[in-house]
Each structure stands twice: as C-alpha cells, then as structure tokens.
Subunit: 184 residues, 3 copies
Amino acid sequence: MQKSIALIEFSKIAVAIKCADEMTKAADIDLLQTKFICPGKYSVLIGGKISAVKSSLNTGLNLAEGEKAVIEKLLIPKVSEEVLEMLKYKKIDKDKVKSLGILEYNNIASGIIAADTAVKAAEVHLVMLKLGMTTGGKAVVIFTGDNQACQHGINACESSVNDKYLISKSFISSPSQKLIDSIF
Amino acid sequence: MQKSIALIEFSKIAVAIKCADEMTKAADIDLLQTKFICPGKYSVLIGGKISAVKSSLNTGLNLAEGEKAVIEKLLIPKVSEEVLEMLKYKKIDKDKVKSLGILEYNNIASGIIAADTAVKAAEVHLVMLKLGMTTGGKAVVIFTGDNQACQHGINACESSVNDKYLISKSFISSPSQKLIDSIF
Amino acid sequence: MQKSIALIEFSKIAVAIKCADEMTKAADIDLLQTKFICPGKYSVLIGGKISAVKSSLNTGLNLAEGEKAVIEKLLIPKVSEEVLEMLKYKKIDKDKVKSLGILEYNNIASGIIAADTAVKAAEVHLVMLKLGMTTGGKAVVIFTGDNQACQHGINACESSVNDKYLISKSFISSPSQKLIDSIF
C-alpha cells in the first residue's frame, strides 16, 4: 500500500509544536519532519496510511485554526516514492542530469505538490527540492528528463498547483556542465 | 558571585561591531557572543560583574543611539547558570524531557529574559533556546518539567516579559516520543 | 591579464538558474558561484576575460529583463585578486588585524564593488565579505589596515558605491582582542 503525506506550514512556532504533538497522538502516523523555515515559519510533515494521515491532519488544523497560525497545508494520498526520498535529502547523480524543469513557489506546500505532480505526470526525476531554508520561505523544485518530459512536467504542475503561488518557472534544454557543477 | 549579562540587538551591522568594540574597551567584561541574526540584525552579548556589565551596556547604547541602530536590549543582573549554558548550545538529554512549556517572541532579548524568568520561577529546565537564526529573528524558548511547573513557568514569563513581544505560547502535557525525537 | 567579474542578483530563482545556464553558453566564462541569498534571492557570479564576461552578462540581463527578475548587477573589469580570494571564503589571519573599516550595504553587488574599491584605493586587506546569507540579503565588508588606510578605504567606498545602498559604516581604531576573537 502506498504512503500518504500531509503537511502544515505554520506562522507561529509554539502553536506549530503543540499541533505536531497532538497530531502524533491523534492517529498512528510518522512525524517525518518538523522544521524551522525562513522567515519565522515552521513546517510539520507527517506520513502513513491515508485514513490516519487525514485524521492527524484534521486534528492539527482544528487546533491551529483558533490561533490563526496556518499559512498553507497539503494532503497527498499516494505520494510518489521519489518525493519521499527527496524529503530525506537524497544525493543526486550529476551524470544523469539531462534537461531541466524548474518551478519556484512562495510556499513549501506548493513545492511538494509540484514535485509529486511532475514525477507522476512525466518521465522526469527530481534533482532538487528546496523547501524554505535559504530561500526566504520559498520552494524550488528542479527535475530532469528529456526535453519533452520536462516540458510535460512543467505543464502538469501549472495545471495542478494554484498559480497564485507560482513565482517563476523555467525550462533548460541541455544545461551546460558548468551550470550542473555549480548548482548541484 | 553570580554573573550578569546584557545584550543589544542592532539593526545596523557596522554600527553593531563598532559598539561591540567600544563595549569591550569600556569595562572589564566578557564578549560572550556576537552574531548575525535573520533578517539582517546583529546581536552583542556580554557578561561579567554587574557594575562592569552596566557600564559596558551604557557605552554601547549611547554610541548606537545617534545611529538609530538599537532594536532591543536587556540587562539580567544575576543570570541563571542554565541560561548561560544554553547560550553555549548545551546538548539536551532527551530522556529527561517531561512536559513542555513553549514561548515565542519577536525579538531575542525577550527570549533570553523569558528563559531566565522560567528557570528562576519554576522547577523547569531549558531544552531549547533559539535566538534569531533560522527563525527570521524570532526567539523560541522551550523548557521541561512536570505539568504544574511548566504552567507556572509560562505564567511567570507572561508576567515578566512585555507581552507585545509574545507571538505565541503553548503547553504540552506529556509530549509524544515522536515529537521529542523530531524537534530535538 | 587580469580577470574580470560580473554578478547578477535575481529576485526569481527559476529565472536565475535559466539565466546562469544561458550565460555559460553565451561566452567562455567561469561560473564562479551560484547561490541562494536571504530572503529568497539568487546570485550568479561569473569571471573571465572582459569581453567574454561582458557578453555573458548582457545575455543574462537581456533574458531576465522580460521577467523583471533583476535586483542589482555589477561588472568589475579588472578585479583585485583579494576580492576573488574572499569570494572563495579565504580564512583570515587574526594576528594581522590592525584597525578596521566596516561597510554595510543592502545588496551584495554593492558589497563586492566596495571590497574591490577599498583594496585598490588604500593599503587595506579584506577580512570579511559577507554576501547575503545570515544577513537578510545585506552585504558586510570588513577590511583591515592602519588608521589612515582604513579611513581612506571607507572614503573611497563612499565615493564609488551608490550611497542609497549604504546602511551603515564604521571605523574601529585598534579593535580589542576580545572583539577580534568574537567576530572572526
């Protein structure tokens, strides 16, 4: 059975940690990541069976609602394995970089949704998933594949992720070795 | 004799470093920490005998005043040993975590005052003292103890620290092991 | 022949990486650095022969213009060796610190220009060149030399760098050992 994930981005850190605790108590989920995010936000990422994840997410949202502490949230029922690996900071293989699709969002939930959307929609692989830190709270998703796949991946993200969160996107056909050596 | 500490948070970095130098020259104090803080602030923390610390603090404040470079300041005459240890990034013992009190402020001076207040007022121990970095300039204080002590600690902070700086607070009774493993 | 450098600070990361790729393809330059900068900016630094650097810079600027993604740019035809070394995070020798000149700008291009200006104008050496990270996107330049040289360096920067970008500046005559040990 495939894993589901959910994430809440909080604007208030003390509330976020309290919610994370309640979320672990509400259902049998894994607390995959709790993280400080620029500038002053905090994210809580959980994973597990869909019913448990939903229940845990709702517990967190209900608790945070009264505190006006939620910036954004996501629920991905059957998340791709590749997204889960990137969330654990998988080291990428520079030799496998072909063309690139790049998407930049102003919150991290959108970045995770885009990453999952792209790998499910097209023959692309994730090579970067920056979520908040060193980006002022923005998400940057980079995937690789042949030209057509990258463009297909970008299009799929544009259809699936709310475009009010998109800051910029780009497609790089056959990136130079200098670029690859510098950005990865 | 117990140590005193003082801190100035500056909005201008060149002014801050100049002040730090004058503060070390004005009295026999220890320059405990000089630090870049998100987003573009700089903090100078000194320690020593109360008379020296006061004199050094005043020197820094006088110099910075003309430059409109001071965001916040603090002076704690007899600071608790535990706060001093946390300022040096003490590793915490996860096995000793009981319930939690969490306070979040929009400046780091308030976070240090809260930490000192809590450990003096209640049977609690500091387990996190985040000051500015990775928090967008906010301070996060987390202490542990039994339920009553944590609530007592939170109340003491609310009485002692200017509440216009408080962003959020929370009390966690018996945090889950999952939470403890994730946040510490 | 002396090396030239150019830098573009971008507000949009996906655009920035696309531009970096085109810049490496437009002329025979070295991609010296690509970097995430607080809060959510991205810088691309190139080096090489002046004609190649100019051509590459123009390619990047033209591409970014339509996207309104450029915050600031610079072109230094014959950059000082010392600036190039600092850009690679040269470790400084604390024993050689004399007096200090400190300049703080609200963008990193201005910081690099100031660093280059100071070492060319006066008998000073760079001891810190903070560019964006941990400074909320600000640049901090610190150089050392005797009193007269430091003041001369500060004056030269004030003449050469657009003063609307200057946040603060300071001159420290014979900094205390405590300051030197703390800030470096």
